[in-house]
Every structure is written in C-alpha cells, then in structure tokens.
C-alpha cells in the first residue's frame, strides 16, 4: 500500500454523547490531551485547529464529515514542526460504536504517502492520549503523563 496508517481501538465505559463531548470540547481535552484544545465550528468544510497552551497553532485542517455522536473526519496538517508540515494533510477519523455498557472508539490516522514521518511521530502519542481519555471518563482522573504540554516542545 502506498500510504501510512495507524488504527487505535479502545473500549470506554461511557455513552457516545459523553465521549463525543470529551473529544471536541476544550474543558475536556485540556485535561487529558496535554493541555491542548481544538477550535472549529464543527460543520463540514469548517476550519479545524489544535491549539497549544502557549498560543501557537499546533495542527490545522478542515472538517470533512461530522455526524455526532457517531463519526468525525477531519484533515490534519502539523503546523508546529516544519519537517512534518512539509508532508501536507493527513486524515483523522473517529468512529464511536456503542457496545453493551461501553463505547468502542476507533481512531484512524492516515496519509497518502509511504513511510510517513507524521504518522510515525503521532503513533507515540495517540496510545497515551487515548489511554488517558479512557482513564478520565472511567475514573474521573486522566493519566498524569498527559496533563502538561511537554516542556520545550
């Protein structure tokens, strides 16, 4: 395949509505996603930005598909690291499926280029962020490793 892709799956004991809020609302994301938050009008074609606590735009893109609380697709270009910005736009998909008392969350991050550095680099962060999201929703506390933006990054 001429593209790079990572797929992450986690089962979280919550409702699709709560999980959806946790994925998009700043008061949630700041707690488990290294203090970052997202800005968007959350409509197809709307701009999307991931903001870094010091005010920089970390990543940017555009909403492709949005169907709360089931599916969200947006493009994603890394803005704060020039070598990753050069790779252009990747694509991020969230799928939420209720399964008994849990919700199956599938996160797919992909780009149409082989051996992408962007996909490789975010693959270190996603498992930690998603494990922290699960911990926050199930226990009320995120993982400590994800509560601060990494120093010097």
């Amino acid at each position: 395949m001429a593209d790079s892709r990572f797929v992450y799956v986690t089962y979280i004991r919550t409702t699709p509505e709560t999980l959806w809020q946790a994925l998009v609302e700043p008061e949630f994301t700041r707690r488990y996603w290294v203090e970052t938050w997202q800005e968007s009008a959350w409509q197809p074609g709307a701009a999307w930005r991931l903001m870094i606590p010091d005010g920089r735009v970390g990543d940017s893109g555009e909403i492709v598909e949005i169907d709360p609380p089931r599916r969200l697709v947006h493009t994603w270009r890394v803005e704060f690291k020039p070598e990753l910005r050069a790779e252009g736009f990747s694509r991020l998909t969230y799928e939420l499926e209720p399964q008994g008392e849990s919700v199956k969350l599938t996160v797919t991050h992909e780009i149409e280029r082989p051996a992408s550095k962007l996909i490789d680099e975010v693959s270190g962060g996603w498992p930690l962020i998603l494990a922290s999201l699960k911990s926050l929703l199930e226990t009320g506390a995120p993982l400590v490793a994800t509560t601060r933006w990494p120093e010097g990054l």
Binding site: M1, V7, Y8, V9, T108, P127, A131, E138
Partner: protein, 109 residues
Amino acid sequence: MDGDLGKAFKALADASRRRLLDRLHADNGQTLGELCAPLAMTRQAVTKHLAVLEAANLVAVVWRGREKFHYLNPVPIHEIAERWIGKYERGRLRVLAELKRNLEEATDG
C-alpha cells in the same frame, strides 16, 4: 478492566502471537496472506491466533473493499504499562532502557 487485561495477557502468553505482533509492529496494516507468507504456520493457525489477538483488542482490523487489513493496536499495552508505572518512574525507565540498548548494541557490534 481486569477482564480485558486478562485477555491481553493470555493473548500475549503465546510466542506465535507475539511474533505476529512483531510482524505488524515492523509493518503495520497487513492482510492474512501477507502475514502468512514468511511464517512456518498454516493459514488456519494464523487465522486462529489473529482472532485471539483481535478479541484481546491487540489487533484492530480495517476492511478496504474486499480486503481485510490487520493493525497492531498499542492502546491496551499502554493501559497495562500505565497501571504499574508510576508518574516519576517514567523518565528513569526510559533512561535505563536506552542504556541497556546502547550497551547491548556495543556488545553485539
């Protein structure tokens, strides 16, 4: 939580299944055929091992048209690590792992 963890440990207890995860770690997103090719395992055995890994959520599958691709899902392994690694140990463990790798590479080389 513990039920899921039990499934993950059971799945990881088998050397063939760990080898399949190694193969996906090296090259993520493979079909059954690609996974079978270099292994001394029947297609049937690989299918069975993949089902166990999938049930433990260690492998995620994605359909593209009629083809099924397998991806290593690192989230449960992270949850295992987070359960027993304290917040202050993380940095030191990384340094130790690095040291071990450097020393072993020096010896091998």
